[in-house]
Symmetry: C2
Subunit: 308 residues, 2 copies
């Protein structure tokens, strides 16, 4: 089966972990071991998040005073290099030697309302007081993220993936392609010239991954996060893990805007557009995500809600 796996930031850096290179390397090596077990049975395309990393590069660029901070589209491109390399290297060392990373530009709409309302958290977490001070000093928008606060930036909807044909070519030839890193480098198409122009934004990697899974005609779309399934009544003593559900049922529920919400939306979008299946779950459950013992399966023909 051809499977697009969208790797959450937590596989690279757990929430609240400092943004150290050696820690990321350790986490990536751990993730690569699990990906290897899955790659034995399926052909994988790998997308990944970049929230903590793109925020870190922005902080570094801000800290150095001799050069103006680089725009966010360039920083996203840098994270595709950074994270792509770490993943590619780790997978190679697990024996997956036909792994490549393709830089990816993703088209967004100039008129996307997201440009006026930043929602995507990037960089490290701060306590409220520090976050308010940074917002004031640097002109950031900030928003709560769990019990912390983070910087937020515009996150426009992905419309098209510029390099998808090259990815298709390499997939057809058996490569494990790392693609659409950090949701892709956001570009808009200039009306008269047709030029692609970089924009200061970070596209949600789950939405970009759903589009990639669709354009690349994947059989299955797996969204990986730090919980093992979608839960109803999450965080209460009544919480129940969903084993299988249709997108229609799933869309009736409410989920946190910043975390499970976009994943649920991306999974539903893929399934309804393609009539194929999506799974939301924890990478470290490995093959369990494919044999029904872990994760939430999203599929059009599921009746009602099936719980674990």
């Amino acid at each position: 089966m051809k499977v697009l796996m969208a790797l959450g930031g937590n596989a690279l850096l757990q929430r609240g972990q400092p943004l150290e290179a050696d820690l990321q390397l350790k986490n990536v090596n751990h993730a690569a071991k699990v990906i290897k077990t899955i790659a034995k049975h399926h052909q994988i395309v790998l997308c990944h998040g970049n929230g903590p990393q793109v925020g870190l590069l922005a902080l570094m660029a801000n800290a150095y005073k001799d050069v103006a901070p680089y725009p966010l589209d360039v920083l996203v491109a840098e994270t595709q290099g950074m994270i792509g390399y770490m993943l590619q290297n780790a997978l190679y060392n697990e024996g997956i030697t036909n792994v490549v990373t393709l830089l990816t530009q993703v088209l967004v709409d100039t008129k996307d309302p997201a440009f006026a309302t930043p929602t995507k958290p990037i960089g490290p977490v701060y306590d409220k007081e520090t976050a308010l001070k940074l917002a004031h000093d640097k002109g950031w928008e900030i928003a709560p993220d769990g019990k912390y606060y983070r910087r937020v930036v515009p996150s426009p909807a992905p419309k098209d993936i510029v390099e998808f044909k090259a990815a298709q070519k390499l997939i057809d030839d058996g490569y494990l392609v790392i693609f659409c890193g950090g949701g892709g480098i956001p570009v808009v198409e200039e009306e008269k010239s047709g030029f692609l122009i970089g924009k200061e934004a970070v596209i949600d990697k789950d939405r970009a991954s759903a589009l990639a899974a669709q354009e690349l005609k994947m059989d299955m779309f797996v969204i990986l996060t730090d919980v093992d399934a979608i839960y109803v009544d999450w965080g209460t003593k009544n919480q129940k893990a969903i084993k299988a559900i249709s997108p229609t049922e799933l869309r009736k529920m409410d989920f946190a805007r910043g975390s499970m919400g976009p994943k649920v939306e991306a999974a539903c979008h893929f399934v309804q557009q393609t009539n194929k299946t999506a799974v939301i779950g924890d990478l470290f459950q490995g093959e369990g995500l494919f044999n029904g013992t872990s994760g939430t399966l999203v599929k059009n023909d599921v009746k009602g809600i099936i719980y674990y």
Copy 2:
């Protein structure tokens, strides 16, 4: 003809220019217009330098105190993202829509003596006093670069290109591939495990490009710099531009270690290994590099030295 073009740092940032993103973007757009005229007649593989950029990222990482500076191999990967994106975007906007950037790891030898003797200049130029202070404060090695000083890092010899088969695939399919950026991400092969491990170094992009041109069976290898040809008696009133020369003759001459030396060595290496042709010249001479009106042609069967 299949041509590998190695784009010097000067096409991205001229010597002494500040490392601003918008300046790079302007330079890259200018370069893309010339590359387009060449791409009409030849299939191009594009390699590029990253000296100024990887040095800048190191400075930014140093300036931010909350996280330990990222290792050079990761920073090289980031520059492949940054510069690859800028080139890819600019070429797309010139109508070359089948352009892709492949992240590239390049194998070097753990025992390479270069690790003990840093020679590769990175980052901005400094006056002597500032450079000496930085060397003291940050533990850098520094060396003269023209009338300025710069930080220098180890620059081991490239032995093999990890992702060359994927590049070959895309080239065969007609893509303009941006490859081996910044000389490639330096990795060594661990003796027992065979694991590829990142090393703190920056590989010379001309040497890596020569290897890429050879492995990818290119017909021609073009090294682009900010002079229009190789000169004898450079910088004197007797200076003469060489039109054509054999590698054997060329190797008898002496060139500056930090600038023309590695380019001459890379060109000679490619020509002697493949019996094909190399050209050293100025990108902005465009088609002149291919019709004998500009640049220095390096070819095995040239007798003596032919001057302009």
